[in-house]
Amino acid sequence: MKRIISTVAALAAVLAVGSSPALAEGEPSDADILNAKTVGVLPVLATGLSRQDTYRNVAAMTLRGLDAKPAGDGATLVPMKDDGGGMAFAGSSSTADIRILQYAFIAGGLASNAADPETYKKAVAFLESQREALASLSPALVSACDKYVAAAKAGRIDGESLVKALAAAEQGISAGPERAHGYFAVGIWLGISFIAVAAGEPDPDFYGMAVPLATLLEEDATFGGSDRALAKEVRAIGEVLSKPSPDLGALKKHLGAALAVEADAPAGE
């Protein structure tokens, strides 16, 4: 018989937080832990010294990547249509979700279009025109996006706002609506991956976000179906970004696969 917690009972007392735990009978099997059907996931994207410091590190990485002038042709992976179409991926998502994912991906990957002024201009115009796609997102996230787009319109990639948007998306997954913020977080992380490759060095704070994001897509009941195929590519991109010299070709291959994941067939077909 295993008891929780001889020491935690004492610990809880000294922690002065909440009540001490009651004792439970019996030790759980591994299957009780591993085989239970996961219905919810809280992905923690930023650990480290503090969430702020970790996001600050990622922001610093984006600045290094921007200095290296990324050339990933991000927008060319996603035909920018106003109706949310042009992106095969849907998973279990609605059109609104796709539009959020599309917006976030274009925003995150905007720097990769800087070498092509026409495409860059088109991408910024797309972000401006699609602001309504952000309607279901938190005010903090929308505010970060607005600031980012305003800077982009002035010809500047605002790495700090980009990372603030990622942080706000993470908070939004907890506060809800989970799905909308989850799609935004995945989209912007995929977009920023261009900058991460351009930075030229693996950044554990950034590539470490891949597994929690993939776990959300794979196991949270809010997601499902083709989201799992997307999750596989997110994991693969995390692997690419963890290599000593991340490879743009490999990244684009997995991004292409991620964005080509097709929507689930409607139930009954």
Binding site: A22, I33, P204, G208
Partner: protein, 340 residues
């Protein structure tokens, strides 16, 4: 995913120990180094007990010693012995920089040996690639040994650089000085290895000097005052929390990735204090590090030994009588908040 492995984990394997005679004769490479024996708290959910470990440190000046943050964290007693058998107790912690994995300790008496000399930051730190280095470290608790290698790369910038090197090391080398052999000065403080990158990692000496400067301004705190159970809750940075509702046989998980060995605090607060739930800490997809059944609110501290993806899971047993709701959350313990 790259897994950063704490160098302090005691691993007595076959290693390459380079004889002192292979080094320039003008330099006493061991004089500023001490082998550290530590005893402190280890946390594994319901088990909070005494554990011991070995590591390395080196003198900054006659009272201050540098080692790794993960060496000093949770230590209640730190004893250092140099090559001549001189013994020191380090009872105060003056600075704790977890990002650079640096701790600055205060000795109970003046040291008998001089502090190290530091290599200043070059205009182009990457120019250090290819430099021959030697790490002077505790050989798994058996005393000081020499480990040769070279700098393979420099990552990061703006004074926050990390030095990748290929010196062969053993458990107990955490906190070792990494010397530039030609300059005969410390270029970094060794702290970990990355399996996927097949490399060892040290924090650059110029960042270490910044932490030392801060340490000199601090009042410091006694180890026994800092690493206490009440401070776990006081210094916890909560990453997030979320409500769950579980039918029998269902689970909820917090998925997180730690870039380095970290102390964390998980908590679960079921709405019905009489319901039996199960919980576990899992590394990767399937390596169960700890598990238990419980009723009522629980607060679970863990000392994670390595980096990488982890899951904190709460599950309703398959034979549970009804759906159960509650809140699950987790965060990490930022001990540095307690440094005065």
């Amino acid at each position: 995913m790259t897994r950063f492995v704490r160098a302090s984990a005691l691993a007595l394997g076959v290693v390459t120990l380079v004889a002192a005679s292979g080094c320039p004769g003008t330099m006493n490479w061991t004089q500023s180094t001490v082998a550290i024996q530590a005893e402190g708290i280890g946390m594994q959910g319901d088990k909070v007990g005494r554990v011991s470990w070995v590591a390395t440190g080196f003198w900054i000046d006659e009272h201050l010693l540098a080692t790794n943050a993960h060496v000093a964290t949770r230590a209640l007693e730190l004893v250092g012995v140099d090559d001549d058998g001189n013994k020191y107790h380090f009872d105060k912690i003056m600075a704790l920089d977890r990002e650079g994995d640096i701790a600055i300790l205060h000795a109970d008496r003046a040291g008998d040996k001089p502090g190290v000399e530091f290599l200043e930051r070059p205009a182009r730190p990457k120019d250090l690639r290819g430099h021959r280095v030697m790490l002077v470290g505790n050989s798994g608790g058996l005393g000081l040994g020499f480990f040769n290698g070279e700098i393979t790369n420099i990552l990061g910038e703006d004074g926050e650089e990390q030095i990748l090197h290929n010196s062969t090391v053993v458990g107990g080398s955490s906190g070792s000085a990494l010397y530039d052999k030609d300059a005969q000065k410390v270029v970094g403080i060794h702290h970990s290895g990355a399996d996927q990158l097949k490399t060892r990692i040290a924090t650059a000496s110029w960042h270490l000097q910044d932490v030392v400067e801060q340490a000199r301004k601090n009042e410091g705190v006694e180890l026994k005052e800092l690493f206490t159970l009440p401070n776990i809750a006081k210094f916890a940075n909560i990453w997030g929390q979320r409500e769950f509702c579980l039918a029998p046989g269902e689970s909820f998980k917090i998925s997180f990735n730690v870039p380095r060995a970290t102390d964390i605090l998980g908590f679960i607060k079921p709405t019905n204090p009489e319901t039996v739930l199960v919980t576990g800490l899992v590394r990767g997809d399937s390596e169960i590090l700890w598990k238990a059944a419980f009723k009522g609110a629980v607060y679970l501290p863990f000392s994670l030994q390595g980096s990488g993806p982890h899951n904190m899971i709460v599950a309703a047993p398959a034979d549970a009588p009804e759906k159960t709701c509650g809140v699950i959350g987790a965060g990490e313990i930022a001990w540095e908040k307690g440094i005065k």
